[in-house]
Every structure is written in C-alpha cells, then in structure tokens.
C-alpha cells in the first residue's frame, strides 16, 4: 500500500472511532466553537475602547487572527499523534511503531486525527471571512494564492513545532511545557500585527520561529500596506516557504531523535 493510501486509512479509522459518540461530539464541537468566538469578542472589546491599534483596524487584525487560528487548528488535527507523543514514549508504544515497515513519521502522523478541532477551524474561518468582507482589497489571483499558501505554510510550521515537541520526548519522556510558549504562545502572538511588539520579540518570530513569514508578511502584501519593519517587498510574496523549510528542519531533528530512542521498557 502506498503511503498516502495508508495515511488516509489511518485517518478513516480515527474518524470512525470519534464519531461513535455522536451527540457528545456535536456538543463538544459547538462548545469549542463558542469558546473561540468568545476569544475574538475580547479583541472587539479592546477595539471598542481604544479605536485603533497603532493604525491597524479590527478588520485587519481579524485577518491575522483568522489565518493563524485556522492554520493552528488544521495542524492540531493532523499532528495530534505528535502532540500526544509523550504518552506513546512512556507507554512503550513507540517500540511497535519502530517494528513496522513504514516510516515513523507517517505512522505517528496517522496515529490520531482529531476532529474536535473542527470547532476552532470554523471559528478561524468565520473571523477570517468577517475580516475579508470588511476590507476593500483589490483581489488578484496572486493574492488569493498567497492567502492559501500562507495558511498552508502556517500548517506546516505548526506541524514542525509539534514534531520538535515530540522529538524532545525521546530524552525527557514527557512533553516539555516550554514548547507551549511556541505553539499556543505563537498563536497568541501572531494574532496581532507583529510590529506592535518590541524589536527583540519580533526578531524571535521572524528568525527563530518564522511565524511572521506565514502571517504578517503575506498579510501586508494582501492588504497592500507598507511595512513598518522595512522588509523588502519580494519577501512578502515568498515568505510562506519558511513553513516548508521549518518542517524539513524539524524532520531532520526527528530522525536524529529516533536514532537516539531508548525504550522505557514498560
């Protein structure tokens, strides 16, 4: 069986299992959606008091917010196996993974597909659409492509972060909480236009964890705004590639980790 078919098979099993308790599932999804909606309402509250955020409007912030949250939601759904990897290491389940004649990456990726994040994705899309409908953007094919690619780049980048988080488990056998700063914290950070932060903080999210490349830079290209950070204009159109590079690097780290894996024996 080719890898893609196998992966789809894995996902199918996971979905069927989660849809066993249908009423519970619907309730949880609606709940999750409402939780996220409430979160955006908080941003509205601040805008209603302050008017604007250093020249940015709430519709523009909705664009940042919707894109990064959609990307994170998709990434959490597909990367759940990496997100919960500590359990597999501690329980010794990873031994079994190693015995199978498939790449470890594919198997862990297919370990679990979490449907629950649909609620968060819905919210991301709703906020994004609301933002777009309130902005007068001169759409071109290139801009539409850039929007889609930026979200995809975000999915890859967050998946890369989850892979790194999982790789750490080879040494620590538990999920390092510091990684939450980069995943949850990264979402929190990049749902605002990044130049509002101090320069040292901005640099982290451009050079170390390039979240700005899948969110801030593409968005200003779509909005046709000038950049207060003085980035070269071409960069804004190619920056989503950073997501691909980041995932590639994290996979190198993953392979390094797998070679240093020692079973817990349990």
């Amino acid at each position: 069986m080719d890898p893609i078919r196998l992966y789809l098979e894995y996902i199918g099993t996971s979905l069927r299992q989660q849809l066993q308790y249908r009423a519970s599932f619907i309730m949880m999804t609606i709940g999750y959606f409402l939780v996220c909606v409430i979160e955006f309402f908080g941003i509205w509250v601040l805008f209603s008091r302050f008017g604007s955020l250093q020249g940015w409007t709430i519709a523009e912030v909705a664009l940042f917010y919707g894109m990064i949250n959609s990307a994170f939601a998709i990434s959490l759904s597909i990367g759940r196996g990496f997100d919960s990897f500590a359990l597999q290491v501690r329980g010794g389940d990873f031994d079994r993974t190693l015995l199978r004649p498939r790449t470890t990456f594919l198997q862990v990726l297919g370990h679990d597909f979490q449907l629950l994040r649909v609620g968060r994705l819905m919210q991301g899309i709703v906020v994004l659409s609301w933002g777009l409908s309130n902005l007068a953007i001169a759409w071109t094919m290139a801009k539409v492509a850039l929007l889609v690619l930026a979200v995809l780049g975000g999915v890859l980048l967050f998946t890369g972060l989850l892979v790194i988080q999982a790789t750490m488990c080879f040494w620590s056998t538990q999920s390092l909480e510091v990684m939450n700063c980069l995943t949850d914290g990264g979402v929190e950070t990049s749902q605002w236009p990044i130049p509002i932060y101090n320069q040292w903080f901005v640099n982290i999210f451009i050079f170390a964890i390039p979240l700005a490349c899948v969110n801030y830079f593409p968005v200003i290209a779509i909005l046709g705004r000038g950049d207060v950070l003085h980035s070269p204009p071409w960069l804004r159109w190619v920056s989503p590639i950073a997501g691909v590079l980041f995932l590639a690097l994290s996979l190198v780290f993953w392979r390094f980790g797998v070679r240093h894996y020692r079973s817990t024996g349990s």
Binding site: M27, E39, G51, E177, E188, I196
Partner: protein, 266 residues
C-alpha cells in the same frame, strides 16, 4: 468536618509531592503575560481617550491574571472525572461521607497548590521585571488585605463552580458540553480574557451581578486600587451569596444524579 479537613490536607500533601506537575504552566504563563503586557502598551500608545484604568494598572491586572490563573475553575478535578468514567464512583458513594463536601475539599487543595508553586514565583518575577513591563505592589496595606480576603472568597466560589462541572459529567452528553462551556464563561465573564472595566458601559451592571466577576475582577480591583478597601463588605457579601447559591445548585444536581445513576459493573 475533620474528615473533610483531612481530605484537604492529604490532597495538599500529594500535590506537593508532584511538584513538577503542579508548577507546570509556569513558563507559558510568563510568556502569555508578557504578550498581554505588550499588547496593552501598544493600545495605550495609540489612543488618547480616557480609559477606565491606567496603563500601569492594566499591566498589573494582566500579571495578576497569570499569577492566579490556575486557581480558576477552568477544568474539573481530573481524578473525580476518572472516578466517574471508570465507575469507581461507586466506592465514593459507599463511603460514610458527604460526597459533595469531600469533592469540595479535594478541589480546594487542587486549586491552592498550583498558585503557591507557580503563581507566587510568577508574582515575584513580575514585580521585579524592568520598569514598564512589571507589576506594582498593592496600592496600600488596606488594598493588599482586601485583595487577600476577596481572593479567599474567590477560591470558595471557584470550588463551587468546579464541583458543578464535575457533577455534570454524571450526565454524559450534557457533561461534555458543560466541560467546554462553563470554562469559557468563566474566562470571559471573570475578567481573565480582558479586564471587565474595558467592556461597554451598558454591560457593567450585568457583569458585576454575575457570579464570575467575583472570581477575578473584584479581588483584582482591590489590588490595583480601582475599588477602595471600604467597598470590601458589599463585594464580599455578593461573592459569598453566589458561593452559597452555587453550592446549593451543586448539591441538588448531585442528589438528582445519584438517584438515577446506573453503574455498568466491571
């Protein structure tokens, strides 16, 4: 009464054993605090409108949120949930103890220890942070004392809400929804997401009448000085009334649930 105090003491001791778990969240909370502070700085820098609190007060408020975050009823007692899901709740029902009171004392300990282990260090760090980023000490001795008293009442109120969440899991579907919705309401209407003072003026009477403001907003207002210590009594009375009412609801839910509970054996 002694039995319940012993439960509280025992749970306290157990959590102090698992220090790492109880202190988890430390770095994430520092990170989130920092992001919140920088967002407030940016908002204050972009508007001349008169705000319900000064920038320094908003920063102090944001840090206090991180200090006391894990005291909030944002989830139900994981062990009680496990008892209910596995059916071991049957043993609990056999004990010559009041089920509600024993769960209540468990959850109290469960909320206090993380604040001591991760909240207090965050508080110390936030106080000594460089000027502009850090929080201040309470306005006056009276403000500090009122904050302490009000925060204790918030703990009692929060435990009553946590118990309702745990008890609701005795109904599978409704419980799942409750697990999602109640924490969202807590986060939003308590002031955790955004200080309540920033909400539209028309919503203020409603917000302060709801039980949630007693969890975060009321104690914090004493700390930052927007509520004078002389206002302690009426506010404390409201917090305690809500605590009593929510304990009443919890007791009623529990007695209804235990009348219809069916254990699946096993």
């Amino acid at each position: 009464m002694n039995a319940y105090l012993s439960i509280l003491r025992l749970r306290f001791a157990v959590q102090l054993q698992y220090r790492a778990a109880a202190a988890a969240g430390f770095s994430t909370q520092l990170f989130f605090g920092l992001v919140k502070v920088m967002v407030f700085m940016a908002f204050y820098a972009s508007s001349n409108k008169v705000q319900p609190m000064s920038l320094q007060q908003a920063i102090t408020y944001s840090w206090l949120v991180q200090v006391t975050l894990r005291m909030l009823p944002w989830n139900s007692d994981a062990e009680v949930l496990a008892l209910i899901r596995s059916g071991n709740v049957a043993y609990e029902l056999c004990r010559p103890l009041n089920l509600y009171a024993s769960w209540y004392s468990r959850v109290l300990a469960w909320r206090i220890v993380p604040v001591l282990l991760s909240g207090v260090p965050i508080w110390i760090i936030a106080v000594v942070l460089p000027a502009g980023y850090g929080m201040t000490l309470p306005e006056s001795l009276g403000a500090g004392l009122s904050f302490g008293v009000s925060l204790t009442a918030s703990l009692l109120l929060g435990a009553a809400i946590s118990n309702i969440m745990s008890i609701s899991t005795l109904w599978t579907v409704a419980g799942d929804g409750m697990q999602r919705l109640l924490p969202a309401a807590v986060m939003f209407f308590s002031g955790t997401t955004i200080p309540l003072a920033f909400f539209p003026d028309w919503s203020q009477p409603l917000l302060s009448a709801l039980p949630f403001s007693g969890l975060v907003d009321v104690p914090f207002r004493f700390y930052i000085g927007t509520l004078p210590p002389s206002e302690l009594l009426p506010n404390l009375a409201l917090q305690l009334c809500w605590t009593a009412a929510l304990i009443g609801i919890g007791l009623w839910l529990l007695s209804t649930a235990t009348k219809r509970i069916v254990l699946q054996g096993g």
